[in-house]
Symmetry: C2
Subunit: 667 residues, 2 copies
């Protein structure tokens, strides 16, 4: 409560030394900024978009939750099951939808936390320790650490979280998904059920994937496409759950998802309240290092989920609040521990999907070709380097994404996001209803093979949207078939920096993934955390600032980052020598984990891309950006991009004019 | 031998009444035209392209042959097996490579002939008749009928074979493939081998399909892409043949491809010479109706294969000769019958693949955007209807074909085709070598599931290239996402003619496919043949000529059609009111069975399409074209199209100037 006016506080903060931590300032400012919108968060829910968003999020949330529950059920010997996972989702949904500063963020059980849970189980249970009591103590210590982070404004560190660690984390999570899918299948023996399960798992993947592709393509009318994209995966799960009962498959008995009794813990012998006092004092303190690791994981994972759910592609009008939400996350972690639930935190990709599903759109006629060509020329000019030829003939399409939309005649423009708390709360209550007897019976019918297929879908979709994947695809692409104006093609030192950057990313991923295969798996959050200083202090020694500007980018816009004091390394002077354009920063909209590079990916239409580099007053408190190193911001104006994938229209003119200086038309 | 000069003969033929058949004239003219090139057909083979073409064709030919041999082995109770199918391929290759007027046409055992063979088996074997002797008599009668067709210049009827019956036939063949793949799998019981086989079959399909997609995309350097496209399928077969022996799959014994003794007939009790005298006289004459059906099938199938292998997308310089080749086909049919082999005929898609693999290319820099836009404007103008807007902003990409090549900076241009006889002969001799003991042992390792996957690959690839598929995709595409200048979008009566035309095509396909499921399957060639008069006389009553001009098109260019007296319905006056452009006719290059509509399909780049309608002196002898009804010719200049898929550069200026009159630039 240091200041009566947040902006004044921010301005004053810049003048202060970084080590003078003003306790509670972040949380207080978050609440101050958000409180005026609280009533509107409920009133604004009176909008049709809330209905499909709720139904969509229910399925998008519960299906992975079921897959994770199967994974934990097996690996923790029934300590966690479907009911625990569902109740954790309900807990997260209720607390965050009602109390959070960022109610759009969907909270639930993630892949990394399941890895954490069963690794702790592997370490602790041979000691004879009561597992759930130990987990409870982890949660209680973690609650303390979360609150310490919240009170000391530790989320200000988010300014260093660029796309680089996010991409590596996303890549890691994707491979965890794929591995889990294979593990589910490989547990099924070697007889008929095994091979039938492989067939079913692959079929679920292929069908759900094709539904997603159609949703992004140009086949069928817009409502059909949206329906397939939104409900393709649930319908695929339902279909294949029934499919295995036809023909000669009827005679094969498949392993199904184990479920318990309605509203009861999976381990029938305990009550919801964990007997956390039933543990030795030594084990209570042994829980501290685990709690530290958990806190690191949640600090990173939850905040990144929040950042991406409030990415620049969404025209949000209500302020973010990271400090307050990390405080809430400590609360839910503690409660979950006491109830013996896996700890919920921010979900990727569900959180950004939620924001996307709340986007209200309007149909807009495309501008004429002349205007489009102008933009393409601007795109070429924005790289700041002499174009290889006189032609602004376009920007590489990166392998056919949005392949159906090369030349739209109309497109959907996002006018606003229905920012409210009801859809998050409602999907949580639906999940609570799923814990009732009849629905548990239905869930019990789902073959494990279908859930394996679901893991494959999640893994491949996460890989597709990843910035590392995008860079690798660029590198293996035939160089004669990529556009001359592609930013990655105009680096002064050629392709080697890209190879180097991707190599660093893959080493980071490989180390994290490798440790997950050992009993030290519980330490993987440390690896993720280490990536942030690697990016901030190590990489600038080997890469030029303009290379890093193209290879990396900020995760969220200054509007969202206001809660944490702005972005890291916003350059005072544009390192690529762009014009006097001063529009707002726009990082990648290419995918959930897309890098800055990915911003130029999804647009097949050269007219759709509006690359602008611009200078902007540096908000960072630490003065790191004065060396001019740091991500350049690539603005994307996705006029022809499928709204199904990216959202999206950006906020124009929110922080400056959008006129491009010195961007002549080249043809 | 009616005339000493073919062109003079042709000119004279136009003045004669159609019923005055000049016997032997077609054959004689074919030989006269081709003979001067015979020596060069061997000398020209001194070219590197012949080596990869030979290896590629060997695999492209033998893998489907093995799949068909499995099918016939099962359904004719070992009368036909691997050795018979291989020897039939060898027979066709040797005879046609050495003697044919069209040595590029690959001849072997096709899907339709396997249907014919086992249907005859189902009809004849319950009567106690010696099956192979009966087949021999069919072949001998058919030899007579083929020679009658050749002598009476019956191939002149090919001018009526537009894309309409070809598309339906191709659609039919594709579904036969898919059905055969399912049949192979469904014969494998319901235990572990069954489900493992489904998994393997689907995996073969997916991996081979992805290899093909990469071959057409922009990932990897050009040589890698070409390698994957050419050898992806054989390598997939080899990989999965080994794959089933690793891990826990080792314990599952899979059904493999049955093979016999090297160079011996599969039925070990007989010699290669069929005891065709060992049959009742009644059965000899019963063979006549079957021989008629076989002749109809071959007349259509072989000639269509030849037409497509010499499509307009290939810049051929040596003349075609349909009459002579149908005479040769009678010969090989008779010989195959006497040896107890399935009868070989022209193979789709292998024949056009062969021509494609012999294309020599050079790298060309793209022209400037201005020129490209001109072409796009010409494309819009060529529809002859007022454009909906002032923008020539491009032509619909039809669902992402060639998705990796939207804006090339360089492209490969086909300079010429290495027209020679050696690659066809060599791949035939390689096939002969495969009948030796060691290689038969290798072939015996291939699981049936892998061959099922091969059927799926062939079926889906055939469907993808089909003109019916292209039209259906256009119809289900979101109308707001297709280009205003798409020819199908500018029909005066809207979309209904397209629905109607597709409905007629699907009814034709459905009737043919339905009869194949019955014991009357042997009659399916009649349905295919009936489609030709339906197109020529029935459809013009319901469709406007300009609709048919867009919905249908000729199969081959006038250069190829010179052997049969030119194309049907080449309009004297362009029905769409094009300019005085008199360039040569160019039908669809969109796929193996692509319709005229498909010509505009593969070009994502608006600059790549050069649509020109033009008037041309009518060569048809029958005067049918004077009513102005008939296919308009759509010229395609695929400057930016992947050479991997279409070939291809067309012959410019071979029959006139290529200047477009009245084609203003619209933006």
């Amino acid at each position: 409560m240091a200041s009566s006016e947040p902006n004044a506080a921010l301005a004053r903060g810049r003048r202060e030394a970084w080590w003078k931590i003003r306790l509670f300032r972040g949380m207080a400012n978050d609440v101050r900024r958000r409180a005026p919108f609280y009533l509107s968060d409920w009133v604004d829910a009176w909008d049709y978009r809330v209905v499909p968003a709720t139904i969509y999020m229910y399925f998008a949330n519960i299906l992975p939750a079921l897959a994770f529950s199967l994974d934990m059920f097996t690996k923790t010997h029934m300590q966690y099951g479907v009911n625990e996972v569902l109740l954790a989702s309900v807990l997260g949904a209720v607390v965050f939808s009602v109390l959070a500063c960022q109610p759009l963020v969907i909270v639930g059980v993630t892949g990394p936390i399941t890895v954490f849970n069963y690794t702790v189980y592997d370490i602790i249970s041979p000691r004879g320790t009561n597992y759930l009591a130990f987990m409870c103590w982890i949660s209680l210590w973690s609650l303390v650490f979360h609150w310490l982070l919240a009170v000391t404004n530790a989320c200000n560190g988010l300014r260093y979280v660029t796309r680089f660690p996010c991409d590596i984390f996303g890549f890691y999570v994707a491979f965890i998904y794929l591995q889990k899918g294979i593990q589910v299948l490989s547990r099924l023996g070697d007889a008929e059920p095994f091979y039938l399960s492989i067939f079913i798992g692959l079929s679920v993947f292929v069908v759900a994937y094709i539904c997603g592709e159609i949703g992004r393509g140009s086949l069928f009318k817009h409502p059909v496409r949206v329906f397939l994209k939104d409900y393709g995966t649930p319908l695929t799960v339902i279909f294949f759950t029934g499919f295995v009962h036809i023909g000669r498959m009827r005679n094969v008995s498949l392993e199904v998802l184990p479920t318990g009794i309605a509203f009861e813990p999976t381990d029938g012998t305990r009550s919801w309240l964990v007997r956390f006092w039933d543990i030795s004092v030594g084990d209570v303190f042994l829980a501290i290092p685990f709690a530290v690791l958990l806190t690191i994981l949640f600090y990173f994972d939850h905040n990144v989920s929040s950042l991406i759910a409030q990415g620049t592609e969404f025209p949000l009008r209500k302020p973010a609040g990271f400090h307050w939400d990390i405080f809430l996350l400590g609360l839910t972690t503690g409660v979950a521990g006491i109830l013996g639930l896996p700890f919920p935190n921010g979900l990727i990709p569900q959180a950004p999907f939620h924001t996307e599903s709340l986007c209200a759109t309007e149909l807009v006629k495309d501008s004429s070709d002349d205007g489009d060509d102008d933009d393409a020329a601007a795109a070429a000019a924005a790289t700041g380097l002499p174009s290889a030829g006189g032609s602004g003939s376009g920007v590489d399409d990166e392998g056919g994404e949005f392949k159906g939309h090369p030349r739209n005649t109309v497109h959907a423009r996002v006018t606003h996001v229905v920012e409210q708390r009801v859809s998050n709360l409602a999907q949580g209550l639906l999940t609570l209803g799923t814990m009732s007897g009849p629905l548990l019976v239905v869930i019990h019918l789902i073959p494990q093979a279908v859930l394996a297929g679901l893991f494959f879908v999640m893994g491949i979709q996460a890989l597709e949207g990843n910035g590392i994947t995008a860079k690798i695809l660029f590198l293996v692409r035939d160089v004669s078939l990529t556009s001359r104006s592609h930013p990655l093609k105009n680096l002064p030192r050629g392709q080697w920096p890209i190879w180097g950057f991707v190599a660093v990313e893959l080493v980071g991923f490989g180390a994290t993934f490798a440790i997950t295969q050992t009993v030290a798996a519980v330490g993987f959050p440390v690896f993720i955390l280490l990536l942030i200083p690697v990016r901030a202090w190590l990489l600038p020694r080997f890469f030029l600032s303009q290379e890093l500007a193209v290879l990396d980018g900020p995760t969220a816009s200054p509007f969202t980052m206001e809660s944490v004091g702005g972005n890291y390394g916003e350059p005072k002077e544009d390192p690529l020598g762009g014009g006097p354009d001063a529009s707002q920063g726009r990082p990648g909209a290419g995918g959930l984990f897309g890098s800055g590079m990915a911003t130029v990916v999804p647009c097949e239409n050269p007219s759709a891309i509006n690359l602008r580099s611009r200078s902007r007053e540096d908000l960072a408190e630490l003065g790191e950006s004065s060396d001019g190193r740091g991500p350049v911001v690539i603005e994307m104006q996705p006029t022809a991009v499928s709204p199904a994938r990216t959202g999206i229209h950006n906020r124009r003119g929110q922080a400056g004019s959008s006129g491009g200086g010195g961007m002549g038309r080249t043809h």
